[in-house]
């Protein structure tokens, strides 16, 4: 304990004892990616709180795909999403990504791109690499079209809880659930008819 006549000094944390950062006292977050229709690219939809990957999957399914259509979904721990820096204006983020030393790694990485600020990250393609940094560098040579991209994500595929082929039947009846779509209630029309009746 530091001793000083100045109370601010005695309040300083003791620096010589290395302690781990406090454990989370709440659920961590998992990122959710959705394929809205078969053949359309996956896109980032948001995140859910969960105690583990499988719980995140079951919670994400209704939180993000309870309306309209969906053909597949996956979740991954937020800490397994590696992000590049964010650029602006005419700056293509791929131009800032440095070539990384090859590790001869053969893990699959899913690469996501942000092509409009304020929009979602959308799937760009898959690459093989040993590290997220190498995956981004490989994406730079293989997937960069020169079009301006503001941000890149790299996610190792084996960290992802995917939807299996058989599981895709979860969403078969989803397009019929129109009662979850607010516009289906035509509230404006009902209000108009009601007001006409009241005012006439």
């Amino acid at each position: 304990m530091l001793k000083s006549l100045d109370p601010r000094v005695t309040r300083l944390p003791v620096v010589e004892i290395a302690k781990p950062k406090a454990q989370l006292d709440q659920f961590g977050t998992y990122e959710v990616f959705v394929e809205p229709k078969s053949g359309k690219p996956f896109q980032h939809e948001g995140s859910v709180h969960a105690p583990n990957l499988e719980m995140a999957y079951i919670l994400a399914k209704e939180t993000f795909t309870r309306r309209f259509t969906c053909s597949s979904l996956y979740v991954v721990d937020t800490r397994d999403v590696y992000v590049s820096s964010m650029t602006e204006g005419e700056q293509n983020v791929f131009d800032l990504i440095e070539q990384s030393e090859s590790t001869n790694g053969t893990s699959d990485f899913e690469i996501y791109q942000l092509i409009k600020r304020g929009k979602q990250h959308v799937f760009l393609g898959s690459v093989k690499a040993g590290t997220p940094q190498e995956a981004m560098a490989t994406a730079k040579t293989k997937l960069n079209t020169g079009k301006i991209v503001y941000n890149i994500w790299a996610i190792e595929a084996n960290k992802i809880r995917f939807t299996t082929e058989e599981e895709k039947e979860y969403w078969i009846t989803l397009p019929e659930k129109k009662f979850r779509d607010a516009s289906n209630y035509k509230g404006g029309d009902k209000l108009k008819r009601f007001l006409e009746k009241v005012n006439s």
């Binding site: 499988e54 719980m55 079951i58 209704e62 939180t63 039947e169 979860y170 969403w171 979850r180 209630y185």
Partner: protein, 251 residues
């Protein structure tokens, strides 16, 4: 085709889903996590949608329209098992009920996808994906909380023991068991119960929970014949409140 037997089967299935759908929807806005609140509410909606599909089949067999059937009968005219009408308690009970009931429901529809009554077989195939998610959801929660902390394990264990006699009431034999089996409409409650016990055992064995000895559990029967606990009528009164004020109300 034996219509009486078929109608009895459809009524008890539809009533189970309507009543449990209503009970589970009581958690809307009060779920333990935002994401779980949404998931549980969605599945409650699915159950009511499935009951509507079954009541529609009944209408095609000459019964009254689904709204009238759902909203104008009194408790002793309902064929649901008593498990589904029990009031919500803590969330552990709702999860255990969801697990025990939906496991049976998914297996029942799996059997019915081969039914000789084609409209029911078609419905069973159509909603297979919905039921698959419901059981994944239930199994994942039971495995999670059944292995998490001493408190979560103890809570689930208590709820499991409380719910088990009522869960066995799901399989109360119909007066028409033999007709349903011989006409290949449905393989029967005894067959379903066997499959259900295996499935329940396989999930519970992955947790720190203990199943009671099946032979020592006395099933709570009577629901299929219209005998219910005191909890069903208040549920029906609440559910049909708007319909009784204005049967043509739309929203």
């Amino acid at each position: 085709m034996n219509n009486q037997a078929l109608k009895e089967l459809l009524y008890k299935m539809a009533d189970d889903q309507l009543i449990l759908g209503h009970r589970n929807s009581e958690w809307t806005g009060m779920g333990p996590l935002l994401e779980e609140d949404i998931a549980f509410s969605s599945m409650a909606q699915d159950k009511i949608g499935q009951s509507l599909a079954l009541y529609t089949l009944l209408q095609e067999l000459g019964e009254r329209d689904p709204d009238t059937v759902a909203f104008t009968r009194s408790a002793n005219q309902f064929h649901n098992c008593q498990l589904v009408e029990l009031p919500n308690q803590e969330y552990d009970f709702s999860l255990i009920r969801h697990f025990l009931f939906d496991t049976a429901e998914a297996l029942r529809f799996e059997m019915l996808s081969e039914s000789s009554y084609e409209p029911l077989a078609q419905l069973a195939r159509k909603i297979r994906g919905e039921l698959r998610y419901h059981t994944l959801h239930a199994n994942t929660w039971i495995k999670q909380l059944g292995t998490a902390t001493p408190e979560s394990i103890e809570r689930l264990q208590k709820s499991l023991e409380y719910a088990m006699p009522f869960a066995l009431g799901i399989f109360e034999p119909s007066p028409y068991e033999n007709e349903l089996i011989s006409s290949n409409i449905f393989l029967g409650e005894e067959n379903l119960k066997k499959r259900w016990m295996e499935k329940v055992e396989s999930v519970i064995s992955q947790t720190n929970l203990n199943l009671p000895d099946w032979n020592l559990v006395k099933p709570e029967l009577g629901g299929r014949l219209g005998t219910h606990t005191a909890h069903l009528q208040p549920l029906l009164d609440e559910m049909s409140e708007v319909f009784k004020i204005d049967p043509t109300a739309e929203w």
